[in-house]
């Protein structure tokens, strides 16, 4: 089993709040829907560039969408 990343995100909740589908968001940031699902489920850590694109798609900051717990 692959160890999940410690970086968590609230993409799914934010997307639901905005009434955006996975397909819409995936198209907006230029990834496949499967990649977006993997990111939402913590099975893939997006690149910094993609993380910024996701945050920008919702009009929020990186910190609002992603969280990295301290030690």
């Amino acid at each position: 089993m692959v160890k999940p990343t410690r970086v968590t995100n609230s993409i799914r909740e934010t997307r639901d709040d905005d009434g955006m589908t996975q397909a819409d968001l995936a198209r907006t940031v230029g990834v496949t829907r499967q990649t977006l699902i993997a990111i939402e489920q913590g099975r893939y850590s997006p690149s910094l560039e993609l993380a910024f694109q996701l945050a920008r798609a919702f009009g929020v900051g990186l910190d609002d969408l992603f969280d990295y717990p301290g030690e």
């Binding site: 692959v2 990343t5 198209r27 990834v31 496949t32 829907r33 099975r43 893939y44 850590s45």
Partner: protein
């Protein structure tokens, strides 16, 4: 299933089948005699050439079928696909290095050409199979 994952599955399945067919044909040709006397060159060339062609055909046919269900996803690849491809290449490369070292050792002991060629062939095959397995695991379980 995304385009690149389909390609990874197609490559993996064809590699496993091709290696199996190669081993079966070579053993059959030997007919219980010494393996080094088998005329392995045409068999290996057919297996390599056939494997490449079948992988391409399977990918195209699978793509056509998948495209009927999801026209938007056909031929699309993204950062995750590239990350998984890099990871599987790194995993597979280890076996090429082992095969390369094996070939040097076999040359040093002046082994029969048969064994030198088989070592390199199985190095490529293992590299492809293990890299393919790493790819499909990353697609299914995740890459973090």
């Amino acid at each position: 299933m995304v385009y690149e994952e389909r390609n990874a599955w197609a490559g993996l399945i064809v590699s496993i089948i091709a290696v199996t067919v190669y081993v079966v044909v070579v053993v059959q040709q030997a007919g219980g005699g010494p393996l080094v006397e088998v005329d392995w060159v045409p068999i290996m060339l057919w297996i390599i050439g056939g494997g490449i062609v079948v992988t391409i055909v399977v990918s195209i046919l699978w793509g056509i079928i998948a495209g009927m269900r999801d026209p938007d996803g056909v031929g699309k690849s993204d950062q995750r696909d590239r990350d998984i491809a890099h990871m599987s290449t790194r995993v597979g490369q280890a076996f090429l290095v082992i095969a390369g070292l094996g070939v040097i050792v076999l040359c040093a002991v002046q082994a029969d050409w048969f064994w030198i060629a088989q070592t390199m062939f199985f190095g490529f095959a293992l590299s492809s199979i293990i890299g393919g397995v790493a790819s499909v695991i990353a697609y299914r379980r995740g890459l973090v």
